[in-house]
Symmetry: C2
Subunit: 199 residues, 2 copies
C-alpha cells in the first residue's frame, strides 16, 4: 500500500525521467539530472527505484502497454477507408499529445532495440500480422485499392511519428516557433491515405 508521498514522488520521478531519457537517451541521461528535475536528491530518488535501469524499464513497460492500442482499435467490421483514416488520426494525436513517449520509443529502435527486441518480433509482429489479414481481406473485396499491408503500416508509423520525433526539424523548416503544425499535418495525411486507398 503506497502512501500519498510515495505516489507523488514516484510519479514525479517517472515524469522527470521521461523528459530526460526521451531527450538524451539512456546513456546520455544522468540520475542526478532526473533527481533534480523531480525535485529530489539523488539518494532519495534511488530510495524509490533501485537503479537507473529500473526507472527506464518502468517507463518503457508503461509505454509499450499503450503503444498498440490505436492499432488494436482498427475494426474489421467498420468502413475500410474510415478505419484506416481513424488509425492515422489516433496515431497523429499520440504524436501531438505524447511526443516524449514517441521519442523514447524512437531512441530504443534506432539504437538497435536492445531492450525491446522480443516485443517487436512478438506482440507487435503478431498484431500487425493479424491486421494485415484484415487489410488484405478489404483489398480482396475491392473496398480499398491494392497495397502491401506491411508497408502500409510502416507508412502510417513513419508519417505520424515523424511529427513527434523530428519535431525540431519540422519547426525549423516551417520557420515559426509558435505555429502548431498538426492541423495541416492532419489534413495532409488524410489526403494522402484517401488518395492511396480509394479503389
Amino acid at each position: 500500500m503506497a502512501t500519498r508521498i510515495q505516489q507523488k514522488n514516484t510519479a514525479a520521478i517517472l515524469e522527470a525521467a521521461l523528459d530526460v531519457f526521451s531527450t538524451h537517451g539512456f546513456r546520455g541521461a544522468t540520475v542526478d539530472q532526473i533527481a533534480r528535475a523531480a525535485g529530489l536528491s539523488k539518494p532519495n530518488l534511488l530510495y524509490y527505484f533501485p537503479s537507473k535501469e529500473a526507472i527506464h524499464t518502468a517507463l518503457l513497460d508503461g509505454l509499450l502497454e499503450a503503444w498498440l492500442d490505436p492499432l488494436r482499435a482498427l475494426d474489421e467490421a467498420g468502413e475500410p477507408l474510415d478505419e484506416v483514416l481513424g488509425y492515422v488520426r489516433r496515431k497523429l494525436e499520440m504524436s501531438r499529445d505524447f511526443p516524449r513517449e514517441s521519442r523514447l520509443f524512437a531512441n530504443e529502435i534506432i539504437q538497435g532495440a536492445p531492450r525491446i527486441g522480443p516485443y517487436l518480433s512478438g506482440e507487435l509482429k503478431d498484431l500487425v500480422d493479424e491486421k494485415s489479414r484484415v487489410i488484405r481481406h478489404w483489398i480482396g473485396d475491392g473496398k480499398i485499392a491494392p497495397v502491401d499491408p506491411y508497408h502500409l503500416f510502416f507508412s502510417i508509423w513513419a508519417l505520424t511519428q515523424h511529427y513527434a520525433d523530428f519535431d525540431v526539424q519540422v519547426h525549423a523548416v516551417l520557420g515559426s516557433k509558435d505555429i502548431d503544425p498538426y492541423p495541416d499535418a492532419q489534413a495532409h495525411l488524410e489526403a494522402i491515405f484517401t488518395r492511396m486507398l480509394r479503389p
Copy 2:
C-alpha cells in the same frame, strides 16, 4: 600533406566512429570502443583527433555536406511527377546505402539538434523554401495535384528515412532476417506519391 598511414588511420577512425555513434548516440559511445573498432589504442586515436567531440563533428560535417544533394537535384525544368519520384528514389537509395549516416542524423534531431540547429533553420530551410516555390509553381500550372509543399517534403523524409532509422523494427515485423525490404518499399512509395500528386 598527409602520409599514407595518416590517411589510412583517419579513415579507419571515421569508419569505426560512424558505426559506434550511429548505434549508441554521442554520449553512449566511448572512445575506447571506437579505438578498438578502428584497430588502434585509445591514445593513438587521440593523436589523430584532439577529442571525442572532434570526431563527431567531422562525421556530422561530412554528412551534412551531402545530405541535401538529392533535394538540390530536383529540377524545375523537368517533368514534375518524375522529378518528385526521382527525389523519393534517391532518398530511399540513401537509406539503403547509408543507413548509419541516416541514424547519426536521426539521433541528432531526436535529441533536440544541439549541434545542428543552425543548419536546420539555415541551409536546410533555405533550400526547402526554394524548392517549395517550385512545387507551388507546378501546382499553379496544374501539373500536379494541390498539396502543402512543406508537408510533402516531411512525408518524403519520413517515409524514406524510416527504412534506415527503424530498420530493426521493419525486419522484426516482416519476420525474415534475410529478405531485402527495399524493392517492395520502392514500389510502395512510388505508388503513394503517384496517386498523391497526379492531378
